[in-house]
């Protein structure tokens, strides 16, 4: 009873990970959790939508097919815009990242749903995937020439050590900034929403005055919900745009 009441307005409770099927391999916990469930749900929702909407392959698209086509062209335009036509070789990766993050963010907006992207390890893993792809492809394609990324052309020889140091630090901080940006936005948004919604619940417990004063946090909750939908899309887009820019570095390391 008491625990439930505490959880109802505990803004952190929504990030708790609980085991559904315990799995342990070599003493390490690989349990299928609510986080795992929502990763699978995210993938299932995105895949089913994209597969079913394009099943008819209509020359004149249905609404659902148009949405699938628009997301395709949206990501393709973003990638082509920053990485050029060469960048299209990474299109499946960028599209998968965008759809995964976007659908995970959107599913997180449903009450009682777990937000996959509010876990730093998930966003960090996705960021490492991006930076790993950039680094490996960069060295594979350009060899040592990829290191030109850290030596901008047209810089006087004297300041090259300083500039290169800064460039290296900025490169290494990319996965951190990429992952923390998404994680922190989702986490903060959901906490804010929960705190304001919690105020409404708490204030209604204080009689007529409480109910009257609960109107303000209720309005704020509605407004923040709208804002969070925007953020859910925007952060998926930002993640995608930055991914495209980093991939452009792998393709053309000399600025």
């Amino acid at each position: 009873m008491a625990g439930n009441s505490g959880n109802a307005i505990d803004p952190i409770h929504q990030f708790h990970i609980s085991k559904i099927f315990p799995v342990e391999i070599g003493g390490v916990d690989f349990s299928f959790t609510n986080a795992s469930l929502f990763m699978v749900v995210t993938v299932a929702v995105a895949t089913l939508f994209l597969v079913l909407s394009t099943n008819r392959r209509g020359l004149v698209p249905s609404r659902a097919q148009l949405m699938a086509e628009m997301s395709y062209e949206f990501v393709a335009a973003t990638l082509r815009g920053s990485a050029g036509n060469d960048g299209m070789r990474f299109f499946p990766l960028v599209f998968s990242l965008f759809m995964f993050v976007f659908v995970a963010n959107m599913l997180g907006m449903f009450p009682y749903f777990f937000t996959v992207t509010s876990q730093i390890i998930v966003t960090f893993a996705l960021a490492i995937l991006v930076i790993g792809t950039v680094t490996i492809y960069g060295f594979f394609k350009h060899g040592a020439g990829f290191l030109k990324l850290f030596v901008p052309s047209g810089v006087p020889v004297g300041v090259i050590p300083l500039v290169s140091t800064i460039e290296v630090i900025s490169f290494l901080s990319r996965p951190v900034s990429l992952s923390v940006r998404l994680f922190a936005n989702m986490l903060a948004g959901h906490i804010t929403l929960k705190v304001f919604a919690g105020f409404v619940v708490m204030l209604t417990g204080f009689g007529a005055v409480g109910i009257a004063s609960a109107i303000l946090p209720l309005i704020l909750t509605v407004a923040i919900t709208a804002l969070e939908f925007l953020v859910a899309f925007l952060q998926a887009y930002v993640f995608t745009v930055l991914t495209c820019m980093y991939l452009a570095d792998a393709l053309h390391p000399s600025h």
């Binding site: 895949t47 998968s96 705190v195």
Partner: protein, 183 residues
């Protein structure tokens, strides 16, 4: 950790305090499981996207682009054909008009020439007839005039005979007298 859980009016802040020992996103015991399931689910998702969904949508878009380009080419081809047909029709029309003008002109000049020649022939004929008639008139006149003396002599002879009875005077005599009288 759980000394505040009994409190019914636990506030949000207390909630944070309550769980501060293990803020879920920083609880590293959940990382292996999250990573494993992320790799599995995202891996499957990436595979489906790159093998099924993206080629399919790309194909749909390309088909549409090709179809539109084909239709546009067909439309411009048909338009060109129409333009050609219009041009040939107009040139045929102009030629026909020119021909009609020439034909009308020819017919007019032909008719005119025919009329001219017919008139000339008729005039010639008339002139010939006129001159013939004039000739015959003058001949008749001359003839008539030549017979006047003879007739007069004869008449005179008959008159004399009737008047004096008996035998008629000699023809030569009468002619002589008539000629004298006529003079």
């Amino acid at each position: 950790m759980s000394n505040t859980q009994g409190n019914l009016n636990t506030t949000a802040e207390v909630g944070i305090v309550e769980d501060s020992g293990s803020f879920p996103p920083f609880d590293s015991t959940t990382y292996p499981s999250q990573l494993l399931w992320l790799v599995l689910s995202f891996g499957v998702f990436y595979w489906v996207m790159s093998k099924v969904v993206l080629p399919r949508i790309g194909g749909i878009l390309e088909d549409r682009r090709d179809r539109i380009a084909g239709d546009m080419a067909e439309a411009s081809r048909l338009k060109q054909e129409t333009d050609e047909a219009i041009a040939s029709y107009e040139s045929a029309l102009a030629e026909a008009r020119k021909k009609a003008t020439t034909m009308a002109h020819d017919a007019r000049s032909k008719v005119k020439a025919e009329t001219e020649s017919a008139r000339a022939a008729a005039e010639e004929q008339l002139a010939a007839k006129l001159s013939e008639s004039e000739q015959s008139i003058s001949k008749i006149t001359a003839e008539s005039l030549s017979h006047v003396g003879e007739i007069a002599a004869e008449t005179a002879g008959e008159l004399v005979k009737a008047l004096i009875g008996g035998r008629a005077p000699a023809k030569a005599e009468v002619a002589k007298a008539v000629d004298a009288a006529l003079k």
